[in-house]
C-alpha cells in the first residue's frame, strides 16, 4: 500500500520488534555475503532488500541500517523505499501468509464474504499476525488467477473457487 501511515505499535512502528530473530549467526553470515554481492552495483537497493527479507523474514531497523551503510544511502531513503512497497515488512510475520485476493473478478464473485469468513476464523485484521505466529492475513489487489475467482493464496499455493465455508478446511492444512 502506497500510503501507509505511521502507527504507534502498528505495522510501521520500528520500535516494536525486539525478538532478536535477526541475531541468528548463520543468517548473519548469509546476510554479510549478500551485502558483498550487491556492493557498488547499480539499482541494487530493492533486490538487496528483497533478498534480505528472504533471509530474515522481515526487515528490522538494524538490517535496514546495515543495508544503508553498505549501499552508501541515507537511512531515511531506505526507510522511504521500504515503506512505499507493500511487499516489505517491518515486523516478523507468521509461518503461513494468507493473501485474500481483492481483484475485480473476485469481488464480483463474492470475494468480500471470503475475506469476512477468514477474518472471523483467524480473529485477525488485515496485516496482522497471530500471536502464535501461525498466520498472517493480507489482502492483495490481484493474484492473476481470475478464471478461478474468488481466490486466496497461502504461501505459494493458490486456492480458487473458494466458498466462505470452505475457508476453514483450507486453513487447517497449514500448520
Amino acid at each position: 500500500m502506497a500510503l501507509r501511515k505511521y502507527q504507534e505499535g502498528g505495522e510501521t512502528d520500528l520500535a516494536a520488534c525486539n525478538c532478536g530473530h535477526q541475531n541468528d549467526d548463520e543468517k548473519q553470515k548469509e546476510f554479510g555475503e549478500l551485502l558483498n554481492k550487491f556492493k557498488g552495483k547499480k539499482g541494487a537497493l530493492i533486490p538487496l532488500l528483497q533478498e534480505s527479507q528472504e533471509i530474515f523474514g522481515f526487515l528490522s531497523a538494524d538490517t535496514m541500517k546495515q543495508i544503508s551503510a553498505s549501499q552508501g544511502v541515507p537511512f531515511s531513503k531506505t526507510f522511504g523505499v521500504v515503506t512505499f512497497y507493500a511487499q516489505f515488512h517491518l515486523k516478523p510475520r507468521g509461518r503461513n501468509i494468507i493473501r485474500v485476493c481483492q481483484g475485480t473478478a473476485c469481488h464480483v464473485r463474492g470475494g468480500a464474504k471470503v475475506l469476512d469468513s477468514i477474518k472471523e476464523l483467524t480473529g485477525l485484521e488485515i496485516n496482522q499476525t497471530s500471536q502464535d505466529l501461525r498466520y498472517t492475513l493480507e489482502t492483495v489487489a490481484c493474484i492473476g488467477a481470475c478464471g478461478l475467482a474468488p481466490v486466496i493464496s497461502v504461501n505459494e499455493d493458490t486456492h480458487g473457487k473458494l466458498k466462505p465455508e470452505q475457508a476453514v478446511n483450507v486453513l487447517e492444512e497449514y500448520k
Partner: protein, 649 residues
C-alpha cells in the same frame, strides 16, 4: 539425438563463445556446414518425434497458476506413473504446458495429435483415462466438454465454441509447448525472426516493418509501437540504451501477460532482442510484479537456456549484436506499472511517477534512451518480423491492427483468455465465445480496461472492439480485462470498489490524486451506506474533471473514469441510492430492507432464534415480523428459513 539444440556431430563448433551464424536455421534444417545423410536423418527423425509424426502421442496438462492450484501437477505425476507401470511411457509422453486459456474448465487434459479435450479432471479419473482412452482406444465421454446451450458434447477442442471463435496468434504456443524446454519453441519457428532480422535487415528497416504492421502498445495506451522505436533509434545518446518489458500487470482482472510469461517466455525474450537490435540497445530489463512467482521462475529458466545456446548474450549468432536480459521483481505497487515510476523503481527508489519532460526514448532509465513496451506487445514482434508487417496489418481494423488477448472474467460462463482480431464485437466475445451469463441471469454491464476504464451496458454489446471505438463510448481498451456483471451487481458499489483500489495505490505525490480520490471515495461510500446527499453527483462530476485535468500521471488521470462511465450509463442507480435510499441491484446491505412474506411464513420461529439482534418477533405457528429498526441485515434469517419466506429489497 535427444534434443534439437544439440550438435549432430563433432563438426559443429557452435557455442556462445564461438557462435555460428546458421545455428538457428540449422536446428530445423541442418546440417548446414557439412553434408552428411546420417546427421540430416537424425535431425529429421527427432523433429518428426516432436511433431508427433511417428505414431507417438503426447498428453498435455496445463501447469499455469490457475490449474496448478487445482492440482494439475499432481495429475501429471500420477499419469506419468500409470504409463510407466504399463510400459507405455516410450510411446506416450506426459507434458506440462502453459495456460490453455479455458480456466473455468481446469484442470484440463489434452491428447495430441488427436486433440481430444477432457475437462475438470480429478485424481480419481486418471485410471479410467489410462484404461479407456489409452489402452482401449476409446473416449471417456463424461469428461468431455458439453455446450450449455446446445447440449452437444465436443470431442476435440477445435469444436468447442470457446476455441473455435478465437484467432490464437500470440497465444499459439501457450498450452502446446513445454515452456521450460527451448527446443519446443525452436520447433515452432522460434528465434527465426531474430536471426532473419539481425542478418537481413538494418535497424531502420526493422523499425519500418513494425511501423508497417500498425502494431499499437498493448499495455493500455495504444501508442504506435513503430513510432516509439523510431524515437529511440533517433535518440541523440548512443553510448548506452535500454529496452524494458513492462510485466507489472496490475489491473485486477487481467492475467494475459502472466499466461504469456508462464506459457511462452521465449516469445517475449525474442521480441525484446529484436527491439534491442532496432533501437541500438544492448541491455534489457523485464520488470515483473512480485505476485507472479511462477512467471519469474519460467523467465529465469528461459533466459538461462537462451544464454546457454548463445541466443542471448554477446555476439549473438556471430552477428556482432549483443543483448543481455535481466529480471527485476516488483515489490507490490500498482503505480509501478506507470512508465516513469517503473524506471525509478528499477533505479532503487520509491516508485513515484515523474513529470514527463520529453520522451523516455530520449532520456529514460538512468537518463539513457529507453524503449518501454508491454509483454503482449513484445510477443507480437516475432510473428511480425517472420511473416511481415503487411500480413499483420491485414488482421484487425483500420486503426487497430492484429489481435488482442482479453481476459474474460466475472459473471460469465466461460472465464478465461480469449484472443480475437481487433474489431470483433463485445457480443461475440462475451456470448459466442464467453458463453454468456450463468444461471440465465440478465447481462447488466461489462467493465473494460480495469480501474482506468469504464462500464458498458447492454446496448453497447454490438460495438466493434478497438482502441478508438472504446474510447468514443467512455471506456478504454486498457490491458484487455473484461469483467462481466449481472443484475445483482450494484454499479455504484463497483465505482466505489475501483476508487478504493486506485486510492490505495496512489503514490501520494500530487494533491489532486492523493486528496481528490480520497474525497471521491468518501462520497461514494456515503452513498452506498444510505447517507447520500442531493448534490453528491454534481460534486463527483466536478471532482472528476479536476482530478483528470490536474493529476501528474496516468493513475490519477484515469482514476475517475469508472465513476464517470457508471454515471453516464447508470445514473438512475446513483439517484435511487441518494433520493430513494434504495439499491436496485440488492447489493448494498445498508440500503436493504429485510421482510417476511406473511403468506409463506409458517411461524416455525427458526429465524427468530437465529437473529443476533433480536429483531424478529411472532407467536408460534403465526407469521413473524422483522423490526427494521433493530435489523442489522446480517442475513442469518434468510439462511435459516426453510420456506423461502424472507426477502430483502
Amino acid at each position: 539425438m535427444n534434443n534439437l539444440m544439440e550438435k549432430c556431430c563433432d563438426k559443429c563448433q557452435h557455442s556462445p563463445q564461438t557462435p555460428c551464424q546458421d545455428y538457428v536455421t540449422c536446428r530445423t534444417q541442418g546440417p548446414i556446414c557439412h553434408d552428411d545423410e546420417n546427421c540430416k536423418q537424425q535431425r529429421l527423425d527427432h523433429l518428426s518425434l516432436l511433431k508427433l509424426e511417428k505414431g507417438n502421442k503426447e498428453i498435455l496438462l496445463c501447469a499455469g497458476t490457475g490449474c496448478t492450484s487445482s492440482g494439475s501437477v499432481k495429475l501429471a505425476d500420477l499419469l506419468d506413473q500409470e504409463l510407466k507401470k504399463r510400459g507405455l511411457d516410450e510411446k506416450i509422453k506426459v507434458k506440462t504446458t502453459g495456460c490453455h486459456g479455458f480456466c473455468e474448465q481446469g484442470p484440463i487434459v489434452i491428447f495430441e495429435p488427436e486433440k481430444v479435450f477432457y475437462r475438470q479432471v480429478t485424481i480419481d479419473d486418471i485410471e479410467e483415462i489410462v484404461q479407456v482412452h489409452i489402452v482401449e482406444g476409446g473416449i471417456v465421454e463424461r469428461l468431455l466438454y458439453v455446450d450449455p446451450t446446445t447440449g452437444q458434447a465436443a470431442k476435440t477442442y477445435p469444436e468447442i465454441p470457446f476455441y473455435a471463435g478465437q484467432n490464437r496468434l500470440v497465444l499459439h504456443n501457450c498450452g502446446h509447448i513445454d515452456p521450460e524446454n527451448t527446443e519446443e519453441y525452436i520447433a515452432q519457428n522460434g528465434y527465426q525472426a531474430l536471426a532473419k532480422t539481425i542478418f537481413n535487415l538494418t535497424p531502420q528497416e526493422t523499425v519500418d516493418e513494425v511501423k508497417k504492421s500498425g502494431l499499437r502498445g498493448r499495455g493500455g495506451a495504444g501508442f504506435p509501437t513503430g513510432v516509439k522505436w523510431q524515437g529511440a533509434l533517433n535518440a541523440k545518446i548512443t553510448d548506452k540504451r535500454y529496452v524494458i518489458c513492462n510485466a507489472d500487470e496490475g489491473d485486477p482482472g487481467a492475467f494475459m501477460d502472466r499466461s504469456v510469461l508462464e506459457g511462452d517466455p521465449h516469445a517475449v525474450l525474442e521480441g525484446m532482442a529484436i527491439c534491442g537490435f532496432a533501437t541500438g540497445s544492448d541491455e534489457g530489463y523485464i520488470y515483473v510484479r512480485a505476485e507472479y512467482p511462477l512467471a519469474i521462475r519460467r523467465l529465469k529458466i528461459a533466459i538461462a537456456q537462451a544464454e546457454q545456446y548463445g541466443l542471448l548474450g554477446d555476439n549473438i549468432l556471430n552477428s556482432g549484436f549483443n543483448f543481455h536480459i535481466k529480471i527485476k521483481a516488483g515489490a507490490g505497487a500498482f503505480v509501478c506499472g506507470e512508465g516513469t515510476a517503473l524506471m525509478t523503481s528499477i533505479e532503487g527508489n520509491r516508485g513515484m511517477p515523474k513529470f514527463k519532460v520529453g520522451r523516455s526514448t530520449d532520456k529514460g532509465l538512468w537518463e539513457k534512451p529507453t524503449t518501454l513496451n508491454n509483454v503482449e506487445t513484445f510477443a507480437n514482434v516475432p510473428p511480425i518480423l517472420l511473416k511481415g508487417g503487411d500480413w499483420y496489418a491485414s488482421i484487425g481494423t483500420d486503426n487497430s491492427k492484429g489481435t488482442k488477448i482479453f481476459s474474460v472474467t466475472g459473471k460469465v460462463n466461460n472465464t478465461g483468455l480469449v484472443e480475437v482480431p481487433m474489431g470483433t464485437t463485445l457480443r461475440e466475445i462475451l456470448f459466442d465465445i464467453g458463453g454468456g451469463v450463468p444461471d440465465g441471469r440478465p447481462f447488466k454491464a461489462v467493465q473494460a480496461g480495469g480501474p482506468s476504464g469504464g462500464c458498458l451496458p447492454e446496448d453497447q454489446l454490438d460495438l466493434h472492439v478497438d482502441y478508438d471505438s472504446l474510447g468514443k463510448v467512455g471506456a478504454m481498451m486498457g490491458s484487455g480485462g473484461l469483467v462481466v456483471m449481472d443484475d445483482t451487481t450494484c454499479m455504484v458499489d463497483i465505482a466505489r470498489y475501483f476508487l478504493k483500489f486506485t486510492q490505495n495505490e496512489s503514490c501520494g505525490k500530487c494533491t489532486p490524486c492523493r486528496e481528490g480520490t480520497m474525497r471521491m471515495l468518501e462520497i461514494l461510500t456515503k452513498i452506498c451506506e444510505g447517507d447520500g446527499e442531493p448534490d453528491d453527483i454534481e460534486k463527483l462530476e466536478r471532482l472528476s474533471r479536476v482530478i483528470i485535468n490536474t493529476s501528474l500521471c496516468g493513475l490519477g488521470q484515469s482514476a475517475p473514469n469508472p465513476v464517470l462511465s457508471t454515471l453516464q450509463y447508470f445514473r438512475h442507480e446513483y439517484e435511487a441510492h441518494i433520493f430513494d435510499k434504495r439499491c436496485p441491484a440488492g447489493a448494498c446491505t445498508n440500503l436493504l430492507v429485510f421482510f417476511i412474506d406473511e403468506e409463506k411464513c409458517t411461524g416455525c420461529g427458526a429465524c427468530a432464534k437465529a437473529c443476533p439482534a433480536g429483531a424478529i418477533t411472532g407467536e408460534k405457528k403465526k407469521p413473524h415480523t422483522i423490526d427494521t429498526e433493530k435489523c442489522i441485515k446480517c442475513g442469518s434469517c434468510i439462511q435459516k428459513c426453510k420456506f423461502g419466506s424472507i426477502f430483502k429489497k
